[in-house]
Symmetry: C2
Subunit: 276 residues, 2 copies
């Protein structure tokens, strides 16, 4: 999917919500546990309930490696289900990969060619040749970790070099030499919303994937204040507060209602900047 | 496996060779292609041929995600095969994972509990809470990326902070607050062997996993000169130069001979420091 198609979808739905599919077998409702593929059944119900209110889904790979080959199959079925029923959706594999060139090339083929997701999260530590293989696929995206939502972000990402530039800003700057805003997005945590102003100085037109709203404590209005652009420029992720909003047989309905509520807040933020 | 058991194995075999199982379906010998599980058959033959000469195997996860669930099963079969037939082996999942705490906890369970490997490579960018969940498993290891063997290492790992400390050294220093040398190893590329002296100043007794010998151009004797400790302290990985040394029906025999040759060089290096 290209940038224009993503923006069109945001415009149509008045939402920039990404639903994180962190589907933990130990947290899904009891009545699904008997199913042959409980993870997929859970995802399918969540997807059908939330699709009108979101523009992206983000399965978190950790939750699909847990049972090895079997849970990978649940992931593949989930991606296929989205692809077939909701072809307008932007699908992000949250995998945080990154390795030497020939290995990154394998990961790129696995995710972009075989699994056919739109985007992959990638860690920057290994530098240019670990990222470039992912940038060879037209209309596929690298979502590079810049400033993450967790406490550990302070250990390295905020360390300043001799010129006073924190590492995450160096990552942003350097990455602009590797690809453009039609193929690169960045992870910037909602828990550090005020730093979005610094991020926007470096990448004014890039899309940002923003985790950390809800369970991790970030604020949507703060994120919008500093992060929204005239093309929207944000995908705000929520996982746990939506998919585990309810653990009864009504879980999907409640998840849908929660997504609808978030989308309404997003529509309000978009109207403030007159995004139509 | 604990540190003492690893050292014992090195002592017995006079080798600190790690064989990287970067098993690419497109590179394995033609005559195996007809097999139901060509990747596993290839690995089994390579393992049987090289086991006398190495102390560790390192499957590279990218090569087992390529065909999704099916190739994950090949990985699980490979790990089980090693566990059952060569229980003395140290098994490293080269996955370069790392995410927020609850996600890292899932990866840790997947690799240490379900798959039962000894060690996992982890990327440091997200800091302490992305690493700690991996350190909760007795006799399991985190192998933290410090200074990688690729060109891209220069982009961020060697950037100096205000005090002149390069990022990779900060990673080493900081990690010592999270775990000890009985649970933490570090990736340090052979292509930057002279920097091993700096690494050793910070982590004098830790094991280092050293890639980059062979295909990437690093030198074993240089690595040993700066990296060997009185407990050996090194695992030197080789993937392509062993597993793809020959593409005929004799591939495993040739791989075994190549591993034997490398082990002999390692025995020679160990004898130089009087390691017995």
């Amino acid at each position: 999917m290209n940038k224009q198609q993503l923006i069109e979808q945001i415009r149509r739905k008045k939402s920039f919500l990404c639903v994180g599919l962190d589907t933990d077998i130990y947290k899904i409702p009891q009545h699904l546990a008997k199913s042959d593929d409980a993870i997929f059944e859970f995802n399918r119900a969540i997807i059908d309930a939330t699709a009108p209110y979101c523009v992206a889904y983000k399965p978190n790979l950790a939750f699909y490696e847990y049972f090895g080959g079997e849970s990978w199959t649940s992931l593949e079925k989930t991606v296929d289900y989205i692809r077939n029923k909701y072809p307008e959706m932007f699908v992000i594999a949250d995998a945080k990969r990154g390795d030497i060139g020939n290995t990154s090339a394998m990961y790129a083929r696995a995710f972009f060619h075989e699994m056919n997701v739109d985007a992959l999260t990638v860690a920057p530590y290994m530098g240019e040749d670990s990222i470039k293989p992912f940038l060879q696929y037209p209309d596929k995206w690298v979502i590079l970790l810049a400033l993450t939502s967790n406490q550990g972000a302070f250990d390295f990402q905020l360390v300043e070099d001799k010129a006073g530039v924190p590492l995450y800003q160096r990552v942003l700057e350097r990455s602009k030499q590797w690809g453009n805003e039609e193929q690169l997005m960045y992870v910037v945590g909602a828990t550090k919303a005020e730093m979005l102003a610094d991020v926007r100085r470096i990448v004014p037109h890039s899309f940002l994937l923003v985790p950390g709203i809800g369970a991790q404590g970030g604020s949507l209005s703060e994120v919008c204040k500093y992060g929204l652009t005239d093309e929207c420029g944000l995908l705000v992720n929520n996982s746990r507060a939506i998919i585990y909003a309810d653990s009864s047989e009504r879980f999907a309905e409640v998840a849908g209602a929660k997504a609808k509520e978030m989308a309404a807040q997003m529509a309000n933020e978009l109207s403030k900047i007159n995004f139509k």
